[in-house]
Amino acid sequence: MKKVLAILLAGMMTATAFAGCGGSGNASSSGSSNSSGGSSAKASGGKVDEAMFGDETNISLKVWAPDKGVSLAKEQIETFKKMYPNIKFKNIEVVAQGENDAATQLVNDPNKAADVFSFPSDQLNKLDAAKCLSPVSKAFVEDISAVNAEGTVKAATLKDSKTKEEVLYAYPETNDNGYYLVYDKKVVSDDTAKTLEGILKACKDAKKEFVMDCGNGFYSCTFAFTGGAVIDGFEDDGETQKFKEYDENEAVDTLMAFAKLMKEYKGTWKSQDPAQIASGFKNGTLGAGVDGSWNSVADKEALGDNFGATKLPTINVNGKDKQLISMFGYKYLGVNAKTKFPRTAHILAYYLSSEECQQQRAEKIGWGPSNTKVQETDFVKNDVTLQAIAAQSKNAVAQVNIQGTFWQAMGTLGNEMMKDGWKPDDKAATKKLLQTTIADVRDEG
């Protein structure tokens, strides 16, 4: 009985696992490329020829947006419907779904998931591996590549495992998923915010803290990146993390410079979760911190007029100021490979990623645009946070094509350097730490 049951259950589970995604992925992606063949008119500005809808009618779609984007997405969809008066829409619903969980929810049950959804760049590989993403319609690729920042398009372009073709998998939505420096203008002046040494000194003098999370790989990879040990996709095997060539001595010197500051400013430099930063500003215990764009509303509220934001500072390595290099992600709109209305889903995603929609998002909910025209608008140019994010994005590594081993290894690197007994001037130990970290990331340990 027990055996039969166990076999039955195991069988069911494998069956469901296989049934998960895959399958119809090809069918719908071919459907979307057909739709591109049908229309000779090139798409631009978010609007397409009605012929592109093909024979899809009585359309009902589900769209996932994060909570604070739901009402705006609803408005935008109303506009979308009005743009195509001859197409019959049954229902396009917007459901709140946090981006951090989007890929998990989608892979769990693609049939019940959204047709068009918002997700951060680091989930791209997971979605691609599960074959849950329908690639961007060929009719849109040219326009999207032209109007969006190069980095955002490049990061969503993956090599197809079979055909070895470069395929664009998602529609760029934002260029803002990263962290930057926030500071209390009463403690740190705009000028001192340019160097890490200056910030730490100003904080120490004012008996305030500086928060940067050193135990979380997302933040602590900054140490390695600044030293030149920058990741660059995968090796040819498609699994091992590849690093750009770097000067090991320089990387070690940079790490030593970081460790020196950590030791010198022990008690000032706190390694804490950035979720604490807004509270710290409010209580007046904090002078500056490295915080993510998703917390900027709370930070602004806590500091009021004293809110300062800029790109990450520089650090002095052997007399030379080096800019801190961070991890930086983008957000995309993806189309579910299992959608029943692939053409409409693609047209909608294309519209939602257009200049018009990005402009509205920047103005209403403060999302940093990926559209180069919107990036140049006065509104974006005058927004301190958006400017800080945009400036940091130029000194950053795209958060895409990252192996799971990366985060823990980088977190350990930060934790080791932050440890009480760590000797900042021990070159051999630092070198060994760097080598172990790289080996751990590449899973060679």
Binding site: S71, E99, S279
Partner: protein, 287 residues
């Protein structure tokens, strides 16, 4: 060596009390933190001191009044969902557990022993092993993302947890059954009129455990509900409040929500405790 018995007793008692006090503080402090900080007025997420500087009811008010509009955080709705699920699964599973236990304790039929063994074995599988299979079975019945699915999952397997109540029924003398049979009662009447009134402690125990289940279950509810926030239960709802998207604005409301979750369980326990004690003292046959 201390000779005096009194001195030795004092020393050993002090030691024991110190140990107990330390353990008590460790055990109580999370609850104290939860309660204190659910009234905290200042700050966003956590703060680095224990006693809040400002006390306010705002977190509770916002928790219950702030919902609506486009915000997908809707605690009152989640609370109600959980309550409904808890009440239904409590009723169904209590009846089924007691009926199964009575059957296995009093009736004699062919596969009784074998059925009991199968029940034991099935109960040994960890619950999450079957969850994915359960999800797809429910999906085939078009029940995913509904509260009915939760009631089904929580109550339908409940009969397998018969061991404890069967043990209790076994202690009630069969002489009572026989007496009732002589008086003309059938098995059904014996169960409702003789056995049940004498088994209050075990009924209360079953009610309590099956009522608490839905409030605490996380994994199954999360899998079944997916993206349908309107049908969330408190456990997954509260977890959603602590995701990076919401934590800045909702952390204090999350603490307040955690306190509120304890309320229905506490009320039920206090109400039931009376019968519980009554049942224990009044049960059994006298003379």
């Amino acid at each position: 060596m201390i000779k005096s018995y009194k001195a030795r007793r004092i020393i050993s008692n002090t030691l024991i009390y110190i140990i107990l006090a330390v353990m008590c503080i460790i055990w109580v402090s999370p609850f104290a933190y939860l309660l204190l900080h659910s009234f905290r007025g200042e700050g966003y997420v956590t703060v680095n001191y224990l006693i809040p500087h400002e006390f306010t009811f705002d977190n509770y008010i916002k928790l219950f009044m702030g919902a609506g509009g486009d915000a997908s955080i809707n605690f009152p709705r989640w609370f109600l969902n959980t309550l409904v699920v808890a009440i239904f699964s409590c009723i169904i599973s209590t009846i089924s557990v007691l009926a199964v236990s009575y059957t296995l304790s009093r009736l004699r039929f062919g596969a009784r022993k074998k059925l009991m063994n199968v029940g034991m074995i099935l109960g040994m599988f960890p619950g999450f092993m079957t969850m994915i299979a359960m999800y797809y079975l429910l999906d085939a019945m078009h029940l995913t993302r509904t509260l009915v699915a939760l009631v089904i999952c929580y109550s339908c397997g409940a009969g397998l947890g018969f061991q404890i109540s069967k043990g209790f029924f076994d202690t009630i003398p069969r002489a009572l059954d026989e007496a009732a049979t002589i008086d003309g009662a059938n098995k059904n009447q014996i169960f409702w009129k003789i056995i049940l009134p004498m088994s209050k402690p075990i009924v209360v125990y079953t009610v309590l455990t099956s009522f608490i289940g839905p409030w605490c279950d996380f994994i199954l509810a999360k899998i079944i509900m997916g993206d349908d926030r309107a049908n969330y239960t408190v456990a997954i709802g509260l977890q959603a409040m602590t995701t990076p998207e919401f934590i800045q604005a909702y952390y204090k409301q999350y603490l307040a929500g955690s306190v509120c979750v304890a309320v229905p369980i506490t009320i039920l326990f206090l109400k039931m405790q009376k019968y519980y004690v009554e049942g224990v003292t009044a049960g059994g046959v006298k003379g």
